[in-house]
């Protein structure tokens, strides 16, 4: 699993990456009440808005950590947004992106680096 400074995580399986937000981010947001996931087929560039996650008093953009095409979105979140709080780095994933350039993943932080980054916040 790799991480961004914007608190997205990404896990690569073959040429498809699953994207979500980290446990830290989910905790900071508070109770998640709504997730707007991207349409399947959408092309995203690294850094583009990929999804929106909302708590009662905050709305945050989730950025695409990599460039590619959205091949799946977590439809279950529309009925059970609380999954993002319960399992942020598991069932609370947002979207799956087919990688355009697998080397982009290498530039992201590993868990140790992310933990170290969190310690600076």
């Amino acid at each position: 699993m790799r991480f961004t400074k914007d608190h997205e995580w990404i896990e690569v399986d073959g040429d498809v990456a699953t994207v979500g937000i980290t446990a830290y981010a989910a905790d900071q947001l508070g109770d998640v009440v709504f997730v707007e996931t991207p349409a399947v087929g959408k092309s995203v560039k690294k850094g583009d808005g990929l999804a929106v996650v909302e708590s009662v008093k905050a709305a945050s953009d989730v950025y695409a950590p990599v460039t590619g095409e959205v091949v799946d979105a977590n439809a279950a979140l529309s009925d059970t947004p609380e999954t993002v709080n319960q399992s942020p780095e598991g069932d609370g994933w947002f979207a799956k992106v087919k990688l355009a350039d697998p080397s982009e993943v290498d530039a992201l932080m590993d868990r140790d680096a992310y933990e170290a980054f969190l310690a600076t916040l």
């Binding site: 008093k57 905050a58 709305a59």
Partner: protein, 447 residues
């Protein structure tokens, strides 16, 4: 001064606590060049009696609608409002409270807004409604912006029966949002013409029923055509009472209803404040503008209400908000909801039937005036007639005889080439004698 409780002694003691030499010391951050040394050049303070005298003198220069024959409509309709409505909205707890940001001590406001939302949804036949907009015209403009967000398409088609002020309010916002507005030519009975203008780029069509000429239209086929092309149907209604008699926009397939609610609970007020009704389908609610009240539970499990889905709004989403609206029409919405609770379904249907009966009487009386042609065939409480002379001149002449004969269409759209068209409304407040006075005077003027 009667509104200022501090005494000179209070002020001196407070400055002592603050540790400031003078009040002016508290204004030290204001650049010296911008500080006014003396009051501006306006009159000094007045007592209640003097203010009342001055403002009453202005009020007396206006011809009050209720003081004689009166037939103006065109988006603002004169109805009788029960005395209890105005009494309740002047209760301190409603009049002098703010937007219900602290739900534990604002359940009064939140519950009536929830009731309001439910009433508006029922009346319009839609799934959900918001807690009000400024007025019908701004609701319509916001509806077009919302259709643009939902469909991501850049074009809006407005019918020729849409109130010209509404069309202009839409055009103002559309211009800066990059939405192209296609306005059809003014037409008494041609709402369905919008269908021919729908294309693959069309975000929405906007039709009005009853339209500005009073024509009521079944928009079902328009809805089907719009949906087939992936566009939304926005239905505008400027006379909320009509919904007591006519099929609701929701029944006919509307995606968004933008209506003026002032007819229920609110006075003419020279055009404002009014109350915009905004209703839509549940699936679009996160794209809707304005405040929403929702049901929930408190810490003890008791039912209560809160403002909800606030992440759409400016105070959270800032530049990504669905609208910049903040303050809306709370107290006018309260007046609406009280009046509608008093009417109930029974009263509203009777009221609507009375309005319709009254304008039928007006239409048939005008039909007998030589040279006057009634243009509107299916109406609720308003009709358009063609006069054998410019409508503005006729209206001015009749006004000099203390008859307010209606609104010349050219007042709304001078360039439409309909200078001889006059819009007249009749409501439960119109006396039969008023209609007789109008037709008699009209016969004289047109003879």
């Amino acid at each position: 001064m009667r509104y200022l409780p501090l005494t000179p002694d209070d002020r001196a003691r407070m400055l002592g606590v603050i540790g400031a030499a003078s009040v002016d010391a508290l204004f030290a951050d204001v650049p010296a060049s911008a500080r006014l040394a003396a009051p501006v050049d306006l009159p000094a303070h007045l007592g209640e009696l003097e203010v009342e005298r001055a403002l009453s003198a202005m009020a007396r220069k206006n011809r009050v609608a209720g003081e004689g024959p009166f037939f103006c409509g065109a988006g603002a309709y004169r109805h009788h409002v029960p005395a209890s409505v105005d009494h309740i909205i002047q209760r301190s707890e409603f009049l002098t409270s703010y937007t219900p940001y602290q739900p534990e001590i604002a359940q009064g406001t939140l519950q009536y807004l929830y009731e309001f939302q439910t009433q508006v949804a029922a009346l319009t036949g839609m799934e959900v409604a918001n807690a009000s907009m400024y007025d019908g015209s701004t609701a319509a403009a916001e509806a077009v912006m919302m259709a643009h967000r939902v469909t991501r398409r850049p074009r809006a088609v407005l019918s020729g029966g849409l109130h010209p002020h509404y069309a202009e309010a839409i055009a103002t916002l559309a211009h800066v949002a990059g939405v192209t507005v296609v306005r059809q030519d003014a037409a008494v009975d041609a709402e369905a013409d919008v269908v021919s203008a729908i294309d693959g780029e069309t975000a929405c069509v906007v039709v009005q029923t009853p339209n500005v000429f009073g024509t009521a239209t079944d928009v079902t086929a328009i809805a089907e055509a719009a949906h087939a092309a992936g566009a939304l149907l926005i239905v505008v209604t400027t006379e909320a009472v009509s919904l007591g008699l006519l099929k609701s926009p929701g029944e006919m397939g509307a995606d968004i209803v933008a209506a003026e609610g002032a007819s229920i609970g609110n006075g003419l007020n020279f055009g404002g404040p009014y109350v915009g009704l905004f209703a839509t389908r549940e699936k679009f609610i996160r794209q809707a503008p304005g405040r929403l009240t929702g049901e929930t539970l408190d810490a003890d499990g008791r039912r209560g209400f809160v403002l909800t889905l606030s992440t759409r709004e400016q105070h959270i989403r800032r530049e990504k908000a669905t609208s910049n609206i903040c303050t809306n029409s709370g107290l006018c919405a309260l007046a609406f909801t009280i009046h509608l609770s008093l009417l109930g379904e029974t009263g509203l249907r009777r009221l609507a039937a009375l309005n319709h009966a009254k304008v039928r009487r007006l239409a048939s009386a005008l039909g007998e005036v030589r040279g006057v042609q009634v243009l509107t065939r299916r109406f609720f409480n308003e009709i358009a007639v063609r006069l054998p002379a410019p409508a503005t001149e006729v209206v001015e002449t009749l006004a000099a005889r203390d008859i307010i004969a209606g609104v010349p269409f050219s007042r709304l759209a001078p360039a439409a080439g309909l200078d001889d068209v006059l819009l007249l409304a009749a409501t439960e407040t119109t006396a039969d004698g008023d209609i007789e006075a109008l037709t008699a005077a009209l016969k004289g003027v047109l003879a």
